[in-house]
């Protein structure tokens, strides 16, 4: 059974939604539709629907929608998760996760869901939030602590802790994979000097009030401890994915 979860902001995409639903019907991709605005507890919803036989959960929305649903799905036990596939139908802006999975727009998404090409992707955690793509923080005042050493970006810039790379990176010869149980710390200074370190876990502190942005959706105050989990979600992807 398919479960389609529509985000709150989709009212302004009525035409796209109508076209999407026609296309889904043509492909016989039917299922239950729920609207996030009507849901008080998404975790309970996901658990109930899985217990009722949902095998494919489809987020209709953007990175923020995916983030909310991934946080609910990730609380499901690992054994049940193996039987669940997670699809994405991107609508509107802020869709880097869908793009990384090779789903460029809502028009091609139904065919991709129908083809059901599955990639099992690692899930990371930032304090009590799960996330799938990356955590970002401005380097100003930021220190990263890993095991017995610390990293101090002395010339400012941007810091990204990457699981699923959302776009092609300039250090393209370095492998980023959301399947290797490794997080990749990527630091680019204002002078464009690049640093790169693989890790399983890192704690971020900041003395300038900068916040950590995860999945380009949720801002968190530091300190934030980020780690890769022994937990995967089966994403439905296309051949055009980034990994």
């Amino acid at each position: 059974m398919n479960l389609f979860i529509y985000d709150d902001y989709l009212n302004k995409y009525k035409k796209s939604i109508t076209n999407l639903e026609v296309e889904l019907h043509k492909l016989n991709l039917n299922g239950k539709i729920v609207y996030l605005e009507n849901i008080k507890n998404i975790n309970n919803l996901i658990n109930d629907e899985i217990n009722n036989g949902a095998k494919t959960i489809i987020a209709v929305g953007n990175n923020s929608t995916i983030h909310k649903i991934v946080n609910a799905i990730s609380d499901v036990d690992n054994e049940s998760l193996k039987n669940i596939a997670f699809g994405i139908i991107p609508l509107g802006d802020n869709n880097s996760i869908a793009e990384a999975c090779g789903i460029k727009n809502d028009r091609i998404a139904p065919e991709i869901i129908l083809a059901r090409r599955i990639e099992s992707i690692n899930i990371a955690k930032a304090n009590d939030h799960y996330f799938v793509s990356e955590a970002y923080i401005n380097a100003k005042g930021t220190v990263l602590n890993i095991d017995d050493f610390s990293i101090d970006p002395i010339k400012g810039g941007d810091i990204r802790i990457i699981n699923l790379l959302s776009e092609k990176c300039s250090t393209k010869n370095i492998n980023y994979s959301p399947k290797d149980n490794i997080l990749n710390i990527y630091i680019k200074s204002r002078s464009r000097a690049e640093s790169f370190l693989p890790t399983k876990s890192v704690t971020i502190t900041n003395s300038s009030g900068e916040k950590v942005l995860i999945d380009n959706s949720v801002k968190m105050d530091t300190p934030v401890t980020i780690s890769i989990l022994n937990k995967n979600i089966n994403f439905i992807v296309s051949k055009e994915r980034n990994f």
Binding site: D147, D148, F149, D152, P153, K155, N173, S189, S195
Partner: protein, 136 residues
């Protein structure tokens, strides 16, 4: 193996890059090749190779299979196979290695001990690693 002086050519083999813009403090252990262009205050060990760029400043010891140095290091070096000291390098510390080459202009202040065969160096590296694992 690193190609001397050309970081870009070895980029695809590199596990870790400590860029010009960052300072690393503490003890850093790796498995793959490591490029250092920034500041390192502490020890660094890897089973693979280390490339130290011209702008790098290191206060601490390095241990690796092969090391190429073009920057400043204030600490001891233990090199399993081959140490290359470039013309811009300044080393203040003792060196133990199996093979070495030193370019004109390089500065070395310390003792250099050549180990007769690779086995001796390998054993020394293994002993160091074992004692660390036990202490953990």
């Amino acid at each position: 193996m690193f190609k001397k002086g050309n970081q870009n050519e070895v980029f695809s083999d590199v596990e870790t890059i400590i860029g010009e813009s960052i300072k690393v403090k503490g003890d850093f252990n790796g498995n793959g090749n490591i490029v250092i262009d920034g500041i390192l205050e502490g020890s660094l060990k890897t089973k693979s190779n280390i490339f130290v760029g011209e702008k790098a400043k290191i206060s601490g010891s390095l241990e690796a299979s092969e090391i190429i140095i073009n920057g400043d290091i204030n600490g001891n070096l233990l090199v399993k196979t081959y140490l290359s000291v470039g013309s811009t390098a300044t080393i203040t510390g003792d060196i133990e290695c199996a093979q070495i080459s030193v370019e004109k202009g390089a500065k070395i202040n310390g003792k250099i001990k050549m180990l007769n065969n690779l086995t001796n160096v390998s054993k020394k590296l293994e002993t160091t690693n074992d004692s660390e694992e036990k202490s953990e």
